[in-house]
Symmetry: C2
Subunit: 120 residues, 2 copies
């Protein structure tokens, strides 16, 4: 979570995300959980925190919150808070989030088609 601003690692990442659209896109959707979150929101339109968590098999509270927060900060998802107890918070894609649809669909197809060819 804490990034060392001038580690070589960080310098390299910044260089590439600033100079390459693909690297930038990857920085936004990369990692273990973000694409799964985006996919579920793409299908289900709007989901409560707890509903999303149920779908994300294996995820921990910490990852849930931290990835949702990153996605929100990046403007890909909206966080809708209902003032009630117990709390109810829903998540949905923003327009920007929706604009990733083509990429996600293509990636899904490619994966489905080639999973069997590549044995990792």
């Amino acid at each position: 979570m804490e990034r060392k601003a001038n580690s070589t690692n960080s310098i390299n990442e910044v260089y590439w995300t600033e100079n390459c659209g693909i690297a930038f896109t990857l920085s936004v959707i990369g990692g273990r959980w973000k694409i799964s979150i985006l996919s579920f929101l793409l299908n289900d339109k709007k989901l409560r925190y707890s509903e999303l968590k149920k779908r994300l098999v294996g995820i921990s509270e910490r990852m849930m919150i931290s990835k949702l927060k990153e996605l929100e900060l990046d403007g890909l998802v909206n966080r809708i808070v209902h003032q009630q107890v117990p709390p109810k918070v829903e998540y949905e894609l923003t327009e920007l989030g929706h604009s990733l649809k083509d990429i996600l669909v293509l990636m899904d197809k490619w994966g489905e088609n080639n999973m069997m060819k590549i044995e990792e």
Copy 2:
């Protein structure tokens, strides 16, 4: 490099790459360097190890080799060895590698379009 086969981390990754095309695709092109390597090979057709390295600003020998090896193992690049001294080794995309073109192009466009909207 060494993965603990039954860490939760690894279990989660396996679960998602096996059950989700997108996650699988991400496992193949994710990380700091792979997409850059693929992009350069997509543009330049065929490149020597040293030529590729020059383009990959900031990369170390270790990362070069290890990422090239992974890409080769996954069947995305061909490694062409010329029997001569000093050594000459060229890398090019396979057909499978080329089939990622649409995804990479879309990702590039999306990144270029949205880089300014998202300030990280």
